[in-house]
């Protein structure tokens, strides 16, 4: 098997974030290669440089030994590289055939005819065993049908090298089997397939070779036949790094929230959370680990009242003091839950997407949470201004003034504002998600310190994080989510990084064989 595609010393940065750092990777002819890594390890970015979505800052790409420049998706298709993105790029109001026909002027002869496109597409479907109704409109299709359409589309364009980004993330087990059968047919036909994934079981089942990435770097590649779940996890999560986060022994631990039988079905009708049971305790930091997209967001939102849950779910809140009665949070509106003392600070991937208004300054962003306090119809502007000053002071937010729009602040400072605002009002429960996403070391430690202070004050802290090292040193207990279910709840002081990695990638975390 010769080398089909080679990436040599490829680096790509977004602002100050290094997505790919000096990556060298080879894709061979006629193989199924798994690109394995945690979220944010740069797998998709790397492949996007092959499909022409991004252009590398430095480094070079070779196809069949020749150096190439891939400046657009069109260039990629000309080199017979096709990618199926995780977020499908389909036109909703078009039929399957119309979607396939898009942008294909190069390989067509003579008059444009949807009928001939359809005939050729049908041929592809029969050859590889795709099950697709070519006259169906995309908005009537299921997720799996859309994915099938995407793959047919790529094949129709004559791709010999297919890149599938997390193809199984949205599929049922039966659909996964069907997809794998098709992938094997494509391999038998001499095509190379790259599957971006973080599911070990599937890696071992389908691929010939595994390439592992971690934090934007290429770690190495192994033949699947020589790999085990254990060895792959180790490469994926890496050595344990000592962080020396100050962690106190929990004292006065009392139950604050009791979650029972929590299940959530999302807009697309997919079950994102199944039968979740756990407790959140005051005076303790509960970490939530999991590959992102395994239900973390929905879990926090359910507690905060932002997510509709399936009947049977019970989320009870124990205010604790003076024998107050427990509250059933399911069905309460978000503001009442917040007023009860349960705060959520969610830092989404684009940071500003949730919780802060870009064009407002720190003061006005504080006011979003305080505007209904006081009795006058004129809002109290003094209180938010004081809050903003205090947060700026205590967290060291770097900003010209508290009225500067937060959009002009650096990412780390924006996050300080977001987390600081939630902490400032002395909640009894604080939930943070990805609070240190993209932050530098010092700022991260500031956030850890804040959370620890909260814990020592008796607050129940929930910390959804991406970095296992941090989870292991910051938290007291760690709940691991896998496929929307609780894969395990472990003691952060006892568990090893590998065990955590296994729990994340495999429900229950048991290694086979």
């Amino acid at each position: 098997m010769g080398n089909a595609i080679e990436l040599r010393n490829v680096t790509k940065t977004f602002g100050t974030i290094i997505a790919n750092d000096d990556v060298t990777l080879t894709i061979r002819e006629g193989e199924i290669l798994s690109l394995l890594g945690e979220n944010g390890s740069g797998k998709t970015t790397l492949m996007n440089m092959l499909s022409g979505i991004y252009f590398p800052d430095s480094g070079s790409i070779f196809v069949k030994g020749e150096q190439v420049e891939i400046r657009s998706p069109k260039d990629a298709y000309d080199l017979k590289i096709g990618m199926v993105h995780q977020h499908f790029k389909l036109i909703d109001v078009f039929t399957a055939t119309e979607n396939i026909a898009l942008g294909t002027d190069k390989n067509s002869q003579g008059r444009f005819s949807l009928r001939s496109v359809k005939a050729k597409a049908r041929e592809i479907c029969e050859r590889y065993g795709f099950d697709l109704n070519l006259d169906q409109k995309v908005y009537e299709m299921s997720v799996s049908q859309k994915q099938t359409l995407e793959i047919v589309k790529v094949l129709y364009r004559g791709a010999d090298y297919l890149i599938l980004d997390e193809p199984t993330a949205v599929l049922t087990p039966q659909e996964v089997e069907k997809l794998f059968a098709v992938i094997r047919n494509m391999k038998a036909d001499g095509k190379s397939v790259v599957i971006i994934t973080h599911k070990l079981k599937e890696v071992l089942e389908i691929s010939d070779r595994v390439a592992i990435m971690r934090k934007g770097r290429f770690i190495g590649s192994v033949l699947t036949a020589e790999a085990t779940e254990g060895s792959l996890t180790e490469m994926m999560v890496g050595e344990k790094v000592e962080l020396n986060i100050a962690r106190s022994t929990p004292s006065d631990v009392i139950k604050r929230i009791e979650v029972r039988n929590l299940s959530v079905i999302n807009h697309e009708g997919l079950r994102v959370l199944t039968d979740i049971n756990f407790d959140i305790n005051g005076g303790e930091i509960l970490g939530i680990a999991g590959i992102s997209g395994n239900g973390q967001k929905e879990l926090l939102e359910s507690i905060a009242g932002l997510q509709r849950t399936i009947s049977g779910t019970s989320i009870k809140y124990y205010p604790g003091e003076n024998g107050e009665k427990e509250l059933q949070l399911v069905g309460m509106n978000p503001r009442d839950i917040r007023n009860a003392g349960i705060h959520l600070a969610f830092v989404p991937e684009d940071r500003l997407g949730m919780g802060l208004v870009r064009s407002m300054g720190m003061d006005e962003n504080m006011m979003l949470k305080t505007y209904d306090e006081g009795s006058s119809i004129i809002t109290n502007r003094k209180l938010p201004r004081e809050m903003a000053e205090q947060i700026k002071e205590s967290l060291g937010v770097v900003t010209p003034s508290i009225t500067t729009p937060v959009a002009q602040l650096s990412g780390g400072n924006v996050q300080k504002v977001l987390v600081g605002r939630e902490i400032s009002s002395d909640p009894t429960v604080i939930m943070t998600a990805y609070a240190v996403r993209g932050l530098d070391i010092n700022t991260s430690y500031t956030i850890y310190r804040l959370l620890n202070e909260q814990k020592e004050r008796g607050t129940a802290v929930v910390y959804v994080g991406e970095e296992l090292d941090v989870l292991l040193e910051l938290c007291d207990r760690i709940l691991v989510l896998c496929g929307g279910r609780v894969s395990g709840i472990v003691d952060a002081r006892e568990v090893t990084k590998e065990e955590l990695g296994l729990l994340m990638t495999k429900y229950g975390g048991k290694e086979e064989g």
Partner: protein, 329 residues
């Protein structure tokens, strides 16, 4: 019966003005650009056409009719497309807000046209382009007056028929060709179109500029035919431009619907004059103003009906009004 005939004979030329405006805007919006500069572009087109023929008629020793038509058309299309190009550059290349840019273009077009209109005429007669008017208004079918039916169908200047032909061509291009398919894809989901190797920028620029060229013809038709070659610096063209934008929504972005929709709007527009006649009513002056609102009210109801039924095919292009940047994360 005579009133009805007269009504239709007024409605069709009126409809033609807004049909041009709407056709151009349909093409533009199919690429995802919401160009609210239609009235401004119609001003630019109408004025440039007028100015072109005015100068030709005054400077040429013996002006030729066909040449006059050509000069007017060329000037009109060039000026309108320049308007479209300004809009394209600001919204596509610089990615500024489309609504603001469009509204600014409307104000700009109106201002330019009115300023230079006064400057050129400078006290001269407002019927300054008689040859152009006679050429554009000339009936191209000799048998038009045979009976009522032929009169309704054949008794107009050539631009009326060009509009219908353009509508049919637009419909065919959008629905039956690869270019049309790609263009619609750009307006629906530019990221998807981009991933399929379609040049989003190229399609947006071309659709917007060609669309502007077509919209501008509405202004030209208004000045040199409908308004008898008179350049009047009133707000009339702007009102027609907004009506054209309303018509785009009324047609649910389909060129074929623009044909009958435009004529229907024409009927609505002249309702206030002919309905009382036909029905034998006597109406107070202020009521006519109310009746003139009918096209807008109908548009609102169509919009309501379309959004209530949620049929995907009748919705505006999905990314209408949004700028596209490939590396947005």
């Amino acid at each position: 019966m005579d009133s009805l005939l007269a009504w239709i004979l007024r409605a069709i030329p009126f409809g033609t003005i807004i049909m041009y405006g709407a056709l151009g805007e349909i093409l533009t919006e199919k690429s995802g650009n919401l160009n609210l500069g239609v009235p401004g572009i119609m001003y630019l087109g109408g004025f440039a056409g007028f100015a072109g023929s005015y100068y030709y008629e005054h400077l040429s020793p013996n002006p030729n009719g066909a040449m006059c038509v050509f000069v007017a058309l060329a000037a009109c299309i060039a000026a309108s497309m320049a308007g479209g190009l300004i809009y394209s550059f600001i919204t596509i290349t610089l990615r500024a807000n489309q609504n603001v840019t469009g509204l600014a273009l409307t104000i700009f077009g109106k201002g330019v046209a009115n300023f230079f209109g006064v400057y050129i005429l400078n006290g001269a007669s407002y019927t300054a382009a008689p040859l152009a008017n006679s050429m554009f208004a000339a009936r191209i079918f000799p048998f038009a007056d045979k009976n009522a039916v032929t009169q309704v169908i054949f008794s107009y200047g050539f631009l009326v028929y060009v509009a219908v032909i353009l509508a049919v061509i637009f419909g065919k291009v959008l629905n039956r060709t690869r270019v049309g398919l790609n263009l619609r894809a750009v307006g629906e989901n530019p990221a998807a179109a981009d991933a399929d190797g379609i040049s989003v920028t190229k399609y947006k620029y071309l659709a917007t500029c060609i669309g502007a060229g077509v919209s501008g013809l509405g202004g030209l038709y208004y000045v040199l035919d409908y308004n008898h070659g008179i350049w009047a610096t009133t707000g009339q063209i702007e009102a027609l431009g907004w009506l054209a934008v309303a018509l785009v929504i009324f047609t649910t972005w389909k060129p074929y619907n623009a044909i009958w929709g435009a004529y229907l709007f024409g009927m609505f527009y002249w309702l206030y004059q002919f309905l009382p006649d036909i029905m034998g009513w006597k109406l107070a002056g202020y009521v006519t103003d109310l009746i003139q609102m009918v096209p807008y009210v109908v548009t609102i109801f169509v919009l309501l009906g379309v959004s209530r039924r949620k049929k995907k095919e009748n919705q505006p292009p999905e990314s209408l009004g949004l700028s596209y940047f490939r590396e947005d994360r």
